[in-house]
């Protein structure tokens, strides 16, 4: 299944350049780009992209964009953007990157989309790691810090874990982890 990619960028030149790079790609379906972030929230709801490649200078509150959907947000940069801002994204594409690097960054950015397309119900290594941490009683924030990822990534992993196992509560996931020998009693807090 192709991943649906939405580009949000004011410059037509850059949009066309990206389209040129991504068009022949089998992994992505490039949706009609947005040139501003004005109607972005509605657009996300309507088109349900897996990945949004967005110029960070256009959005002030990135967490609002994520809302309920498990989408990957990738920053598109060609000028200086503060590190603290980029930290909230699942990946960074610099327009000076090579074609291969750009494609790889986009493919890597979306664990959620990747998982869905595989229709695979086995937990990935990353999901297992998140599960083990949760079972130890850690909060999303603590898990994020321990695994060096963003809180959003942790939430997205949690959604995938629940989707695969059918188990929502942390207590239930702890029982699951024990039954599958992912943790033992000594690691429970």
């Amino acid at each position: 299944m192709k991943q649906r990619l939405l580009i949000v960028e004011p410059s037509e030149v850059i949009i066309e350049g990206l389209k040129g790079i991504l068009d022949g790609q089998i992994r992505f379906k490039v949706l009609e780009p947005e040139m501003s972030a004005d109607n972005l929230e509605e657009r996300l709801l309507a088109t349900r992209p897996d990945i949004v490649l967005v110029n960070p200078t256009l959005v002030s509150n990135i967490s609002r964009l994520r809302g309920e959907h498990a989408l990957a947000l990738v920053a598109l940069v060609y000028q200086y953007v503060e590190r603290d801002v980029l930290k909230n994204y699942d990946g960074v594409v610099d327009i000076r990157d090579s074609r291969a690097v750009i494609i790889e960054t986009l493919a890597q950015a979306s664990p959620a989309a990747e998982e869905r397309s595989k229709n695979n119900y086995e937990l990935t290594k990353r999901e297992t790691a998140v599960l083990v941490q949760l079972a130890q009683g850690k909060t999303n924030k603590e898990v994020a810090d321990a695994l060096n990822v963003s809180v959003h990534t942790v939430i997205s992993h949690r959604k995938n874990i629940t989707h695969k196992t059918g188990i929502k509560s942390v207590a239930g996931l702890t029982v699951y982890a024990m039954l599958n020998n992912l943790i033992d009693e000594s690691s429970l807090l």
């Binding site: 929502k168 207590a171 029982v175 039954l179 599958n180 033992d184 009693e185």
Partner: protein, 234 residues
Amino acid sequence: MKDFKSRLFSSESRLSDLITAHPSLLTLLTRLGISLGFGDRSIADVCEASGVDTSFFLLICNVYTFNNYVPSTATILGTDMTGLVPYLEKSHKYYVEKRLPHIERHLDSIAQKLSGRIGKVFISFYNEYKHEVEAHFLHEENDVFPHIRALMAGECDVTYSISDFLQSHSDIEGKLNDLLNIVFKYLPPQVDDDNVLDVVYDILRLSEDLKKHTFIEEKIMVPMVKHLENAILK
């Protein structure tokens, strides 16, 4: 909605026909104050003999049977709701004293076949759920139902408002669903016995029942109480 109206039960039908068509309604009868042995009498006759309001009885049966049926405000306000709080209380008792202990017995036998520490975590997951459900019911019995009783008696009770209820009304089937997934998907093969099948059916039934219970509280009780509150505050 028109389609529903023709399928909803009427007071002239035989109660036994209703039960034959929808056997799961049998578990509702005691909670609604009707004992077995009603013979071939009509719903209206049985209700009258048992002191149960017929339209209230039908309302609950219809909600349990038709998944997409949401009674209109007119239907709710046009129904004698004296029996609602007693019915909800009896349901709580039925869940806590009958259904949960039943499930618990099966889970205990299952836990004995699991290795010690896993068995313990498994049971403590269930116990945690049980306590949540009990706390949920207790809150309704101590805070919500007395409020409704007072309003129905025409007293102006401003200590509590039903909009607080809706905001904090928690989901009590979610963890049951987790338990279901654990039991039938992830238990090791050595516990594959009748207990597992029995408890899967018990959990499914309880979870369906609780969904309807929550539905009745949120879609019938709340609109009714809102109306009472408005009427008394005026």
